[in-house]
Each structure stands twice: as structure tokens, then as C-alpha cells.
Symmetry: C2
Subunit: 692 residues, 2 copies
């Protein structure tokens, strides 16, 4: 039976990579089919930065955010400014259908101009018309509006009737968090547990649809934790207590309490804050170490969003839903210096995090962190020197609150040059020949980073650019596990549990993480083809050679989307190239980039399982349109299987995986042949800061 399921998965399912035409993307919990990003999560400034109870020593190092109040857009892809968001609110306020009540604003986003227009635009041209896309909720109905900022008018208005709902707003979350406390059953239950309600914190970590019974309702599951004696309440679940709350009526649709016999795990050793540490670390302390650039970093940021570094130029912006978006990525040709297109747009489109526990209080835990909470809205300010090295440049995010006001998330993205002691290329000669050669080049890269704290989990996103043309996309996982209370202090038969015991009375439930990336590759222009370069084992003919077998690379251009649905196979390997069929190197090779997979875990859930139905973007179902020599988008799903362990308690050491976008016959030859080595005379002279 296991073998047959393996055959099934090897040959039928488990997409990791697929292609669709254009940049259209839609997930089932979102109601904006025309948006490429759909970032409908917003919050109120004063709600977010008030009531600070515990403060961290690291906060004091945060840099002050710059004043955005007078900023104007410079590039057609620049996000909406503070002034523009204010203008959207003014226009909405005087819009007749909303004259009685302004709806709750879930997103105010730039309605990006058509790609064709953006590609034609160049600096100095008049800015393309600025439009905002607004996603709002009023009386349980989702409104989708286009606001023309130039004419101060609303040019389209639709009430969404398809399945799915906008991303949760902070108002939704705060309202849902309060619901339990006025529920009699809840209060009885926590009293029976001997918990004071002032020690409780309730959260709606699970939004979305969990099967036919909940269809057509905007529901969340509300769970509670004890924050008594620790800020790490995630490690103190009130196990088995779950309320299904209707977000529009704030009714408790279902109350479930199956865990009264399960103790609340202890608070001891859960606090991870530096100021709370009392034990000495059992290791020798490390001397200060730092990436130093006394002449400053080599990149510059023009007009707020255009990043220029070495041979790269790209547009970088913060985004409500995706966190960070990289657009108009161009690299300089190594022969003639010409700027060449590589990617029109790249971002994390959606997350899918299913937990592997069927209990009443667990089955629904299958998060979609981008579409439900927003990676951008969850990205709190980065911590200088610790989240990003010295000499980093910080970029803020500007979003809208539920009442339509602009809100600045400071230091949301950092940009830094990285030297990790690695080698860009090398060769030594002198052992076999009479050439005496010692050539090596240090590897210096540019990293754009953001980190989303989506409740318990922290997701670190890195887009790393190399001078050899490679783009390395990485996702790091840290923060806290989603844990389950347990009656056990000792691991009994773990086969009966949904994960290992990671502390007393705490189970780290097995789960997966899938991150689907939208990669609108434009190799030397918008029209590209997708090529599967399959390595096939061939047998030699009798008498042909002492060798009996060899591999042969066979290129196959995908004609339609179905051809491009990829199931990675270790024993039937392929390279996956995005090429421009109209552009060839001097040798006749098509210019291209390949995607080098990493983090290859695939979802093994059944296709008809509700979480997998919602997260069907991690399958390879799509239409079967023609994709040859068209403006196509590559979708890559990065996956992690996570079986927790004690080292993940109380906060997880970062686990990182990613994939690469790597030039393949894009350059005529090694583009960093001329790179200079490092010389002692050029390096900085440093002294410890404490010395005189």
C-alpha cells in the first residue's frame, strides 16, 4: 500500500513548479481576481504601538523612521504614498454609496499599470496614471473599487460574489480576540481550569474555510493561551478550548472544550528575551565580529525604490500581502554593458502550513499566512545589527489602516552587502604543470531582506543578488512552534501522538510549510519559453564502447501549461530553463535562466482534503493555455517538512531553504572573469570600539 502510494505520487501528483500565462493569480480566500498581489490586511497605527508591557533591550537600537508625509511617487511601480492613501480616503468618503458608513478598509494598494506600459516607461517620462485598488467590507459584503487618483473618481466598483473573503483586518483580529471573554461557557471552562481571565490571551490564528459546514461564512477559530509569567504565551496553550467565531456577527458558532484534563504547560524557561536570561551560556563568549565597509556600501537607492548595485538594477518595495516585491530586475551584459531584462516581478504569493493533527481543536490549523494575515503587515521593524548587519539600508512600508488612514511600518526591509568569506571562483595551478597560479575572488552579494512575524512563526525572506547573475531566494523559519498541550511529562509511545514531546506537557505537532513564489521571468524581454532539459540514461550499443551507459541532456520546450507542470524526480532529473527563443548567444545557444530547486518537500495531503483544496496552488492544477514564446510566469513552491524537536523550544534556531535563478547561456562567458581580488591595502583599519 505504501509502494502504490509512492507510485501514485511519483507519476501523478506533487507539483513543485508550474507555469501559467500572465501574472494572474487567485487564491480561494481572496476576492480580488484582478489583483496580482491582493494584500488586504491593514491596521491602525495607534492600536499597534500602544500598551507596550514588556520592552526589549534591542528596541532601543531601532533607527528612526524618515518622514514620509511629503513623498511623491517617482516610478510607475512605486507603492502608494502617504498623500495618495489620504487622497483615496477622501475620495471614498465623498463616494455616494458610502455616504452613510465608510466600509472597513482591508487594503489600499497601488493598482499597477499594465506591464506593457511599465516596460515602455523610462525615467524622465511623465508618471503613468496613478490608481488605487481598494478592498473593503461593509455589512458582510466585499467591495472591490478602483480609485483614479488623477481624476479623483471611482472608476470601477464591484461587490464580490465569488468564494473567499478579504484578508483579516486588525479590527477583525481584535474583535475576535475579545469574543471569548463574554461567553459564559468559556468563562466556566477557564474557571474550571483555575485560570484567571486576566492571564489569558486569545487569538484567531486560523481563518478560512474548513469544509462544507463553514462555507459562505467569514469564520475564524479563536484559541487562548496563558501569558502568566511569560511573554511566550505560545508555549502555554489552553489545550482543547476552541471557539468558532463568525467575524461579521461576532457570534460563537461553536464552542468546543476537549482538554480540561490537560495541564497548562509551565512558564519556566519559555522567556526568550535577552533581559530575561539568568543562566550563563555554556560556551565561551564570542569576540565582536562585523561586516565592515568604511567607505560605505556599494549600492545606492534612487527615488526611494530603485536599487543599483554592481551589475544589477531593480525596483524594491514593501507590500501588504507579499512582504517585499522585486520588480523590473535587470542585469548588465558582461560584454557590452547593456542592461538586460531578467524578471519583471518576483514575490512570495502564498504560504500553506498544514498541521498533522485531526483533533477537534487542531484539524483546521492549515494557515495561509500571506492571504489570511499578510506577510507585509506581519513584518515588524527589523532589529539593526541582529536582523541585518551594520551598514544596512532600511526601507519602510506604507499601508492603510482599517479606517483608511496611512500607516508607516518603519525599517520593514533591509538592504545590505554581504561578504561571508566565500569564494566567487578560484583556480590554482602548479602541481602538475610549471604554471604557478593562485587565483581566487571573494564573493560579495547584495541582500534584500524582510522578516514577517505571523503570530508565532517568523519567516525571513532573502533575495540575494550575485555579480555572476545568480539570484538566490531564501526563506528562513524561526520564532515559535505551534504546540499542543499534553498530559505527558515523558515521551510514552510517541506513535500515538501527533509529534514529539518538546518540553513537559508540550507536543511539537508535525507540520509542513509551503511557500509559492510568483516569478514573472522576462529573459531579454517578456516573451519566453519554458524548457525541460531532461537527463536521460542511455545504453551504449553493443561493441560501441567499454562504457555501458551514459547520460544525455534532452531539451523539450513546453507547448502548453500542462507540459510545464513539473514533478521533481531524483532519479529522472531535469534542469528547468526559462529561455528567450528569439535571442541567442553568439554560439547559438538560447539565452536563459534556470531555476535550481531547493526545499523540495511536496504536500502529501489528499487532493480532496479541505486544506489541500484551499491550497490547491501547491498542486499543479491550472489551465492548459499555450505558453511557448509568451509572457509567462514561473510558479515555484518551496517546501519544508517539520518534525519538531526539543531544540525548537522555546524559540527555534533558524532553518533556511530556498532556490536559485541562475543564468544559463545568458552571458557569453563567465561575467565575473574581470572581478578584482581583495588586497590588504584596500581593507579597513579597525580598532575595538572600547579601546581609546
Amino acid at each position: 500500500m505504501e509502494k502504490s502510494s509512492c507510485i501514485h505520487f511519483c507519476f501523478i501528483s506533487c507539483l513543485v513548479l508550474f507555469i501559467v500565462v500572465g501574472s494572474w493569480y487567485r487564491s480561494t480566500n481572496s476576492s480580488l481576481p484582478n489583483s496580482t498581489l491582493q494584500t488586504p490586511w491593514s491596521t491602525s497605527k495607534n492600536r499597534i504601538f500602544s500598551n507596550s508591557k514588556a520592552s526589549s533591550v534591542l528596541e532601543t537600537q531601532a533607527q528612526t523612521s524618515i518622514d514620509h508625509s511629503a513623498e511623491a511617487p517617482h516610478h510607475p511601480l512605486d507603492p502608494l504614498t502617504v498623500q495618495e492613501i489620504n487622497k483615496v480616503r477622501t475620495i471614498l468618503s465623498s463616494y455616494e454609496p458610502f455616504s452613510f458608513t465608510l466600509p472597513t478598509i482591508h487594503t489600499v494598494l497601488l493598482d499597477e499599470p499594465d506591464k506593457v506600459q511599465v516596460l515602455k516607461w523610462s525615467k524622465g517620462d511623465a508618471l503613468l496614471p496613478r490608481k488605487a485598488q481598494v478592498l473593503a467590507l461593509l455589512n458582510g459584503q466585499s467591495h472591490v473599487l478602483t480609485v483614479d487618483l488623477d481624476s479623483s473618481s471611482i472608476t470601477s466598483h464591484a461587490i464580490n460574489s465569488s468564494s473567499g473573503y478579504p484578508m483579516l483586518s486588525v479590527d477583525d483580529i481584535l474583535a475576535a480576540s475579545k469574543v471569548p471573554f463574554s461567553n459564559a461557557e468559556f468563562n466556566k471552562s477557564i474557571a474550571a481550569r483555575g485560570v484567571s481571565s486576566s492571564d489569558l490571551i486569545c487569538l484567531p490564528p486560523s481563518a478560512g474555510w474548513f469544509g462544507p459546514n463553514e462555507e459562505g461564512k467569514r469564520v475564524v477559530k479563536v484559541l487562548c493561551y496563558s501569558k502568566e509569567s511569560t511573554p511566550n504565551f505560545y508555549m502555554r496553550p489552553i489545550e482543547g478550548l476552541v471557539m468558532t467565531v463568525d467575524l461579521d456577527t461576532l457570534e460563537v458558532l461553536k464552542f468546543s472544550d476537549t482538554g480540561r484534563e490537560i495541564p497548562i504547560p509551565k512558564s519556566t524557561d519559555t522567556d526568550y528575551r535577552y533581559t530575561a536570561q539568568t543562566k550563563e551560556p555554556q560556551m565561551e563568549p564570542l569576540n565582536p565580529i562585523s561586516i565592515e565597509q568604511p567607505k560605505g556600501p556599494s549600492f545606492r537607492v534612487e527615488d526611494g525604490h530603485i536599487v543599483k548595485w554592481a551589475n544589477w538594477v531593480f525596483h524594491l518595495k514593501a507590500d501588504h500581502r507579499a512582504g517585499l516585491v522585486i520588480s523590473r530586475v535587470m542585469v548588465r551584459d558582461s560584454e557590452n554593458g547593456e542592461l538586460r531584462d531578467v524578471m519583471y516581478k518576483g514575490f512570495a504569493s502564498e504560504f500553506f502550513v498544514p498541521y498533522m493533527d485531526l483533533d477537534e481543536s487542531w484539524y483546521f490549523k492549515s494557515y495561509m499566512d500571506a492571504g489570511e494575515y499578510g506577510l507585509g503587515m506581519s513584518a515588524l521593524p527589523l532589529v539593526p545589527l541582529n536582523d541585518c548587519p551594520r551598514h544596512s539600508y532600511y526601507m519602510d512600508g506604507i499601508f492603510a489602516t482599517p479606517d483608511g488612514n496611512p500607516f508607516v511600518q518603519p525599517n520593514m526591509i533591509c538592504l545590505f552587502e554581504r561578504y561571508a568569506g566565500d569564494i566567487s571562483w578560484r583556480h590554482s595551478e602548479g602541481l602538475l604543470t610549471d604554471f604557478q597560479i593562485r587565483e581566487a575572488r571573494p564573493k560579495v552579494t547584495l541582500v534584500a531582506r524582510m522578516a514577517a512575524s505571523v503570530g508565532n512563526y517568523d519567516y525571513i525572506f532573502d533575495w540575494e543578488f550575485q555579480t555572476d547573475g545568480l539570484i538566490n531566494v531564501k526563506v528562513g523559519l524561526s520564532g515559535m512552534l505551534m504546540v499542543k498541550g499534553s498530559p505527558y511529562h515523558q515521551a510514552p509511545n510517541q506513535d500515538a501522538m501527533s509529534g514529539p514531546l518538546i518540553s513537559e506537557n508540550l507536543i511539537g505537532v508535525v507540520h509542513d510549510h509551503f511557500v509559492t513564489f510568483h516569478l514573472d521571468m522576462d529573459i531579454d524581454g517578456a516573451n519566453n519559453s519554458f524548457v525541460n532539459v531532461n537527463l536521460v540514461k542511455e545504453r551504449s550499443l553493443p561493441g560501441e564502447s567499454p562504457r555501458k551507459s551514459y547520460l544525455k541532456a534532452k531539451r523539450k520546450i513546453a507547448k502548453t501549461e500542462k507540459d510545464a507542470q513539473i514533478k521533481l524526480k531524483l532519479y529522472d532529473p531535469s534542469e528547468f530553463h526559462m529561455i528567450n527563443p528569439s535571442k541567442r548567444s553568439r554560439l547559438g545557444n538560447p539565452t536563459g535562466y534556470k531555476i535550481v530547486p531547493g526545499g523540495t518537500a511536496a504536500s502529501l495531503l489528499d487532493r480532496d482534503d479541505p486544506p489541500q483544496l484551499r491550497s490547491a496552488f501547491t498542486n499543479n492544477q491550472n489551465r492548459d493555455r499555450s505558453i511557448e514564446n509568451k509572457d509567462i510566469v514561473l510558479w515555484y513552491t518551496l517546501g519544508f517538512h517539520h518534525i519538531p524537536c526539543q531544540e525548537d523550544f522555546p524559540v527555534m534556531p533558524t532553518v533556511t531553504s530556498g532556490f536559485e535563478l541562475k543564468p544559463v547561456n545568458f552571458f557569453e562567458s563567465n561575467p565575473i572573469l574581470q572581478a578584482a581580488p581583495a588586497f590588504e591595502k584596500d581593507l579597513p583599519v579597525c580598532r575595538p570600539s572600547a579601546s581609546p
Copy 2:
């Protein structure tokens, strides 16, 4: 047919990981079954560093090697010293069977004491008896000798009668390189090509057995290149010209010339030396960047080989064959500071690099770079600031020359602390709750590195130690491709070629790289078990849950070696744990480490293909001994499929892959919870060196 071959590979073959008892390892081209390392490649000092024709600007930065002449061993695993190698030679010289002629010395290596004795030994104890293992060749016979340095006697002497031969010596290589020039057919052939013999360089890059016709002979294939106008002769093959040379008689057993119509590729743009670059790079220059530690690095090296850093202690040494060997790896327990065993020994045991071309001058290209050439002997001095960052510590290698004299390879290994701007762990809080938390810790690691230049290819080996207990083993590939001359200037039907055109008249032949690592894990002691933690998809019972499927982690302890032969499967995933069944965490979890695969390419060659027969260590064939709770060794094969591209010409940007050894319930909780963040006040004050 392709589908059936995929089924075959999914279920029958393609090992990536397997286990055998003890540390015994043997490859078919080596004659030392009792040795764990077998590093029989050596060279003469004066041969290596003479005749330098072209010199590199980078050489001037090389650090001066220290004087090793008076060094004594301190630890039972310390490599033989200069004095000890001299003593071995003296003992051999007066050994009666060699009184007429001293054999050619292929290796003089420490004969490591039994593991049990080494584990008992501690600093301050008398050093364990010092013995050398000598592999020598005389009149075509391989002699294996044990030399007792304390009693100055030879305690064992065997003449090898099994298959395989010692690693090539530099004498072998030099002799073989000269053979063509006195061969009439060869001289006629190069004259017909219009090549002057003074522009030629000949090398024996392919040693070993290539099918039944060559069994029982010590043969190499000699190939030639034009070094006219370039030091990068690898890019100028005299295609189709190959001589099979008997290394003992220096006879040309077979002469083959099938490529007279193929032009020698041009020298233009092949020179990669910095001093030879005339074109300006088409990118903005980078400001100096450096990892700075004004208080110095935090590690120390005691007694020449014991490395101590943060919570790690290990023994590090250079090795003829393996390059670098890490032994006695211990990490400090995060609760009580106790030093705990993790790994007794780790090293790259063998390489296998098959090329996918059946032509008469190509079929045999299937290198075993460790056993044929020696990764240590091929490791030329590292280039400071470029191969390794500032503040690196350099370690030399001490080997024996063919005449038995000691030879010092300076700056062969570097050791450095690395800060790459990465995050060790993080969490932010403040969006959903009233806690205001910004906690993040910078990730600082320790790297031990060596780089072998095995002819054209450069292999960079990193062993990276993290404070969270993780060991990250990486192999980087750079240097030059093994290329094939071609009549074509433009890519015609590439299906007929064994790889893409990467420059005019040059084909980058498709090939694989497999590196098999010997990992003698000792989790809390020598006796360990191997556990396959399989993630199995289960279906929910009817009515049990709205969910239909979930994953379940099922642990299975391998009883015998066959149980531990692993075929990685993306759609039937597992974790692979090495545990100590006798030691449990406070929660009852067995203490363990898992191997996290990376670089998962597997050899697809037929099992009966000569290169695969020689490199059968990349299959999973072994005995089926009992391995539960025994002193077992984990073997991991890291693989790369390489389809070359133009960017790989004339020198390849580094491609890196690796695997991790990661603690799983080894520590009671996150061992770096107490780690300190970086503070501005502790960081260095730097100025550009050029400023006053």
C-alpha cells in the same frame, strides 16, 4: 521506456546514504584494506615549486609557513611530523628487503591507534604508540608496511595481491607526461596538426581500470593540450589524441588519434589571471568589504590541531587523500557544560566524476579524485583575503615525497569565524498582542576550509560549526571544465553532442560529481543506532474529522546494514537520525543527530558499467551486518549533475551544495537561548586604510 526506467530507479537503485559497521572502507583502486584514509599520493618539494613561468599577483600575499622541523606530536591523532617522516625513511632504508633499492613511496601516514584507545586517552596521558603506515611500490608490486616509530622496527609487511593500485605519485605523473614526446606516432600526429611540441602540455588525468582489457595493469590515459598563449591550456585540448600508458613500463599500450579534423580551440579570452585582464568589468566597482574582528577571532588552536571555539572542541588535520579530517568532535551540553561526543571522524572519502561521452578519447573519463590523485596533495596554498577572509588561521599539511622525504604544503587549511549577516533565531511580537518584543541574534559560525585543485577542477570543502550544534558540510566546485574540442563554432543540433557548446570549438561535456563522506558519528558515545523517521500519509476514518488526510512520523530502527540503505524519495520523505539508544533526554527522547540531505543527485549509470563498478561506493551495496546500538559509520554521497553553460567558460563561478548534521533532541532545549545580541558599542571602529 523512460517511465519504466524511472520506476526502476525509484524502487531499486540509487542509494544516497548508507551505513556500515566500523570505519573500514575500501575502493577498488586502492590496496590498503586496513587503512581508513589511504592517501598514497606524494611529491617532491623541489619538483613542485620550481620552474614558475607565470606568476600571479595574488601569490605575493601568501603567508610564510612556519618551521615544522622540531615539532612533536601531542595527540594520538596528530599527523606524522617532519621528524617522524624522516625517521620512517631511515627505518625503511635499513630494512633488509629494500637494501638494494628503496621503493617509491606513495604514502607515509599515521597508522591511527584503535578508536577505543584514543577515546580513553586524555591530555596529560603518555602519547599512544606512534606507528606509520607506508604504501610503496617496487618492481610493479605494492608493499604495505607498518613502521613502529618507538621501536624503530617494521612490524608488518605485506605485498598487496588484491585488485587496485596505489594513488599516482608525482613521479608517475611526471613520467607519464613525458611519454608522448618520444613516441613516433604522437610526434607525427601533432606535426600534422601543426602544433609545436614546445607548446604542448601532456597530463595523465585518468587513472584506473576501464574494463577487462586493462585489468591487472597499472595504466593511465595521457591527453595533451596546447599552452600556447594561455596558462588555461585546459580550454585548448588536442582532441581525439589519447595514449594508454603502462605506468610501470612507460610503454604506450595503445595510441588513438580520432580528432585530426578538429581545430584546437582559440586561446583568446581563456586567461583568467587578474594581471591578464585588459577589459574593464561591465559593472560598478565594489567598495572594500571585510569581516572584521579587532579583538581577534574567538577560536584557538592548541597543540597544533585541537580547535576550541564557543561550545565546540575538535581535532583538525591535513590529510594526503581526504584533504582535511575532523576528529573527536565534541560539543558542550547547554545545560551543564559537559563536553559530549558527536562524531569520531568525518572526511571526504572518495570522489566519482563520470563524464557522459562514449568517444574513444572520452569514455574513460570517470575520475576518483581522492583515491587517484589525493585531495590533500592537490590542495595548493590558500590565497589569503580571497580564499579565506582576514583574520583566518592557516594550517600546513605535512606529507612524504616519493623518495620518502617530508614535504610541507603551506597554508593548506584555513580556519575562520564567519558572520554573513544571517539570523541565528528571532521573534517579534506586538501586532496581535500588547507585548512589544524585538529579539534577534546574529549567526556567527566557525569554518574549516581547504581547496583541492585536482587538475582542472577546484573543490572547496567547508566544515562549518554552528553554536546551535549544527554542522554544515559543503562542497564548492570551481576551476575549469573538462572540455571537448569540436568542429563547430555555432550550436547545431545539440542532440548529437555530449554537451552544449560553451565557446567556439568547445563542448562542455555533461558530467556528474559524487562525493562520499565518511561520518563516524558517536552520539554520546560510540554505540549508536540509525533510525528512519518516515513521514507517512494517513487517511482519516469516516466521520473522524473534516480533514481527510495527515502525515504521521513513524520511527524504524535499522537492525542491519540493508535496513539502512537509503533511497531518498521526495514523495515518501524521511528524516535520518543517528541516536544513542542508551541515552535519553529528560523527556525520554533518544539523544540524536539527523543528517539533512542536500545535493541529492544520484548516479544513473548502469550497475555493470565499468566506471560504476569502480565507484560502487556510490551505490548502496554492503554487507548486512547487525548495526543496532553498535559503533557504526554513516556514509553520505553528495551529488551534482552538471550540464555546462557558457558562463562556465573560461573558469566556473563556484557551485556549492552540501548536507547538515543537526541535533535532534540532543540538547534539552534551544542551546543558544542565552546567546547575546550584537550591540553597537561592542562593534569595531574602522576607517578606510587609504585615509590618513
